[in-house]
């Protein structure tokens, strides 16, 4: 009611006195849910560390291009993989990976690559024994170059055919992150 009375006064004042009717400055919302950064840390059995990353700080509608950092892997190697999901648009940086771990039954990461020799297997599970994908094992094959696509699904159908094995085809749900990063196998 108070608001209406105020606006009505404003209407009268603005319409007939032509004084300033400008809107107050809005509060900038705090986008704490956004994922700005996906990092895939790979550590080989011999201790070599490869970091693949994808970062877009200004979000969906931002004008700046994402920063994508690819990596080089050794042929016929096995790597321990771990995923980091970050929101770097807020200070301090928020760890979205923690949120995913808390709601692990509602999330699953998928790893797809166009390099035939590479396989990614899950190395973690949610309360129901279904994979999550924050922890993985990656093995490489022959020499080659290509890309790896990492997808985070929200509310996937984890018991659909092939989903537990990492096949995204029947996963449904909605995509919270989907990044494609170049890789070389030498």
């Amino acid at each position: 009611m108070k608001n209406f009375a105020y606006l009505l006064t404003l209407l009268l004042v603005c319409s007939f006195a032509f004084t300033s009717c400008d809107k107050d400055e809005p509060m900038i919302p705090n986008p704490e849910e956004v994922i700005t950064t996906v990092i895939y840390n790979l550590t080989s059995t011999s201790g070599d560390v490869v970091v693949l990353s994808w970062q877009d700080l200004d979000g969906d509608t931002g004008g700046d291009d994402p920063v994508i950092v690819g990596g080089t892997l050794g042929a016929n190697e096995t790597y321990t993989g771990s995923i980091e999901l970050l929101n770097e648009s807020v200070t301090p940086t928020e760890d979205i990976g923690e949120e995913v771990a808390e709601e692990d039954d509602e999330h699953q990461l998928f790893f797809e690559t166009n390099l035939p020799g590479i396989t990614v297997t899950y190395d973690d599970a949610d309360g129901d024994g279904n994979p999550v994908g924050l922890k993985t094992m990656l093995t490489t094959g022959d020499v080659g170059s290509g890309t790896i696509t990492i997808t985070l699904k929200h509310e996937p159908v984890k018991d659909a055919s092939g989903v537990a094995e990492g096949d995204i085809t029947n996963a449904e749900g909605s995509t919270d992150a989907e990044v494609t990063i170049p890789i070389n196998v030498v």
Binding site: L10, S15, K23, P26, P31, I35, E103, E172, G173, S174
Partner: protein, 776 residues
């Protein structure tokens, strides 16, 4: 006062003659006519509640009742294709009356040069009467208009729909609730108008340019939702309405109470709705339920001969579910969802639960109007109105955030209208008015998401003038309007660090109208309207920025947009061949310069969620044209048929490419059979006006679209068959109406081009509705 100040539904022409009050020798005779066309109605049933007797009008609409005792009577009129009506009449001498009924079917109801003082600017080409409204309160306001020619619905699922008239909707279509432009988030294709149809007695559509008085910026058609004046009926009257739908297991309850009390006449309307998941032919459409609670109050008061006061307040509150499977992520998800036979996340169980994605919307409205008679033929009107639209949209979010809206807007609008009318003589009326509208839109930062629409304040000041009159059998109407709009928008930068960017815009808009109606002969009439209007770009077209989850696209405003200009030409021809056959043909051509539309961009934008298509507001030159045809034929006193056809084409002029989201052509037919004889069940109990109505709606495939303009080709043509049975039970003090209705009787599997859910799911399967209505 020589013209109707309060719309008195009947005129008593009293024949003076004295008589002994105790004898039952009075005669009541008169004529019943159609309110809109003023033509007499034959075969109207007239029933006198107190005497439990009645009669029927003859071919010329005349009737006579004899041997009436002095006293107060209630006459109940009913007619095929008409809304039944009750009149309160005091009889203490021989009486001649003229009674008006409003017709359900619209063919007849548009041309009244002979009716002198009717408001030219408010004559609808299409109107939905109270009976249709009562029988369809399970639908929303848009749903009531679906079968009319030239009108289509833009839907998102089945709970959310907005009307499209001659291809225009949203910012380009004015919806007047009680004479005030409905203010809300009109820009959204998935935002229904927040009006409870049950509170209206008439919903009409004015096609062609007509709304000089009501609001600038609209480029043609207007939808009016209006309650009628409170009947001059000293007793408390009311009704209760209940409808059950099998599809969605929906319950709709309405109630209305009214009294022309001597202190202050009042009317109260209320509606409650609850629907669960609707179902298509093969599966449940999960999370498509809705809840709604509405209330409205209408007051009227006149202190003396010169001063009248109207008050109307309403509250509309709804929670609408959106198909779970239509909430998807990026382009990859969209493709997967489109290719999926059954929508994602479809469950086998029915549920009333409403979860994200959903919309919670409240709309509160209040209006006060004062009408003052300066002289007998000069009036001064002052209207003050306020609206609050509170919209919250919920998406599926991570970490318990689904409870936090992803879009949360609060819009206040205040209106201040002045209008002066001078009835110069029997034929000419001059009007002069002004309008001031202030809109204030604020995002709640609780969302944690950058807003799609910025915070803004806009002020619109307008002046207008109209002149209408009549020269012999030609009615004329001229209008001119000027609108000044000031916009102050505060957007948040899309780049880091986030900053607030302030925009100030000043726009000038002009509208002009010429209308000529000519009644060539009693049977033929023709009318022509030419309207020019400009519409400045709306806030969403200039500044929207963000992801539309339901269509998985990024929408971006364009700060370089200019004012849109439109010239609309409408030609209407009515042929009342006989009381048994009539045709109404309306052709229109609207030429746009700088038509604002969302243009899909060639490249996709890469975000952390994958690739998204980008849509940017652009301008082009375009034409929208079409034909609406409707015809009514009375095959026998008990059988009436209606046929309606709409053709529409929207084309960009420069490259000759089709405009997207233009309604496909459609054909509607109905056949109504009325049982002529009334069945007397016992003393004082009668069953009357039983009707069977068969309807059929065929919607053609939208072929005027290029493959690159959409993700998938438009859906195939479809045909929906409907059947309805209704009857009325007349009790000594009450009237009970029952109906059973089947929609999509043959359980056809279909998708509709204008329903955004078509990417993901089939449209509704068969639905049965059962309704009961008690009037007292």
């Amino acid at each position: 006062m020589w013209y109707s100040r309060i719309s008195i539904s009947f005129i008593l022409l009293i024949a003076f003659f004295t008589c002994d009050a105790q004898t039952c020798t009075f005669t009541v005779d008169g004529v019943v006519y159609d309110e809109a066309s003023q033509s007499p109605l034959s075969y109207v049933n007239i029933y006198v509640q107190e005497t439990q007797s009645g009669t029927t009008t003859d071919e010329e609409g005349n009737f006579m009742l004899e041997n009436i005792c002095p006293g107060e009577y209630h006459f109940i009129l009913s007619h095929i294709g008409c809304e039944g009506k009750k009149f309160h009449i005091d009889i203490d001498q021989d009486t001649t009356i003229r009674l008006a009924l409003s017709h359900t079917h619209t063919t007849l109801g548009t041309f009244t040069v002979e009716g002198k003082k009717e408001d030219f600017s408010k004559q609808g080409n299409v109107s939905v009467n109270r009976l249709t409204i009562e029988d369809n309160t399970n639908l929303n306001i848009s749903g009531m208009l679906e079968n009319e020619s030239g009108i289509h619905l833009l839907k998102n699922g089945n709970g959310i729909s907005k009307p499209v008239v001659h291809g225009l909707y949203g910012n380009r279509l004015l919806i007047l609730n009680n004479g005030i432009a409905q203010s809300g988030q009109q820009w959204g294709n998935d935002h229904s108008p927040e009006i409870d149809p049950f509170s209206a007695d008439k919903i009409s559509v004015l096609k062609g340019a007509s709304a000089i008085e009501y609001g600038g910026g609209n480029l043609g058609s207007v939808i009016l939702s209006e309650p009628k004046k409170i009947e001059r009926e000293p007793h408390l009257h009311g009704q209760v309405n209940y409808i059950f739908d099998t599809n969605g297991r929906g319950h709709t309850i309405n109630a209305r109470l009214e009294k022309y009390s001597s202190t202050i006449p009042w009317r109260l309307n209320g509606t409650l709705k609850k629907f669960g998941d609707k179902s298509s032919v093969d599966y449940f459409l999960n999370n498509t339920g809705l809840e709604e609670a509405n209330l409205s109050l209408q007051l009227e008061k006149s202190w003396n001969e010169n001063l009248f006061f109207d008050f109307y307040a309403s509250t509309f509150n709804t929670s609408l579910g959106i198909l779970r499977g239509s909430h998807i992520g990026n382009l990859t998800d969209l493709e997967a969802a489109i290719n999926s036979e059954v929508p994602f996340n479809t469950e086998d169980n029915f549920s009333y639960d409403l979860e994200a994605p959903k919309q919670d919307v409240s709309h509160h409205f209040a209006k006060a109007k004062i009408k003052y008679f300066l002289k007998e033929n000069q009036t001064f009107e002052f209207v003050l109105a306020g609206q609050l639209n509170d919209r919250k949209e919920f998406d599926i979010r991570r970490g318990e955030r689904s409870e936090i809206p992803a879009l949360s807007l609060r819009q206040y609008t205040t209106h201040l209208d002045f209008k002066y009318a001078h009835y110069i003589n029997e034929d000419w009326v001059f009007k002069l008015g002004s309008q001031n509208v202030l809109t204030d839109n604020t995002n709640d930062p609780e969302t944690g998401i950058l807003p799609l629409i910025p915070d803004y304040r806009s002020l619109r000041n307008a002046v207008f003038s109209t002149v209408s009159g009549r020269v012999h059998k030609t009615a004329l109407h001229f209008g001119l309007r000027y609108d000044y709009e000031y916009q102050n928008a505060l957007t948040i930068s899309s780049t880091l660090p986030r900053e607030i960017i302030q925009f100030e815009n000043r726009f000038n808009n002009v509208s002009a109208l010429i209308a000529i109606k000519n009644k060539i002969t009693k049977a033929h009439s023709i009318s022509w309207k030419l309207g020019f209007a400009t519409r400045n770009p709306a806030i969403n077209e200039l500044y929207s920025a963000g992801l539309h989850q339901g269509v998985s696209g990024i929408e971006e405003g364009n700060i370089n947009l200019n004012t849109e200009k439109a010239l609309k030409n409408t030609l209407e021809y009515i042929w009342l061949a006989s009381s048994k056959f009539s045709i109404n043909a309306l052709a229109y051509f609207q030429r746009f310069n700088g038509y604002i539309f969302l243009e899909p961009q060639d490249e996709f934008r890469l975000t952390i969620r994958g690739a998204f298509p980008v849509f940017i507001y652009q301008q082009t030159d375009a034409n929208i044209y079409g034909i609406d045809l409707s015809s009514q034929f009375t095959l026998s006193p008990s059988l009436v048929g209606v046929l309606k056809y709409s053709y529409l084409k929207g084309q960009e002029r420069e490259n000759d490419t089709p405009l997207v989201f233009m309604p496909p052509n459609s054909l509607f037919g109905s056949l109504t059979y009325r049982v002529q004889s009334n069945i007397k069940l016992s003393e004082g109990f009668r069953m009357e006006d039983s009707e069977i109505e068969l309807t059929n709606r065929f919607v053609f495939e939208q072929t005027n679209i290029l493959p690159e303009q959409d993700f998938i080709p438009p859906p195939d043509a479809y045909n929906l068959l409907g059947l309805k049975f209704s009857t009325n039970l007349i009790l000594p003090k009450y009237k009970l109406r029952f109906f059973v209705k089947a929609d999509n009787l043959l359980n056809a599997k279909y998708r509709d081009y204008l329903n955004r859910q078509r990417y993901f799911a089939d449209d509704l399967g068969r639905s049965l509705s059962m309704g009961v209505n008690l009037k007292f």
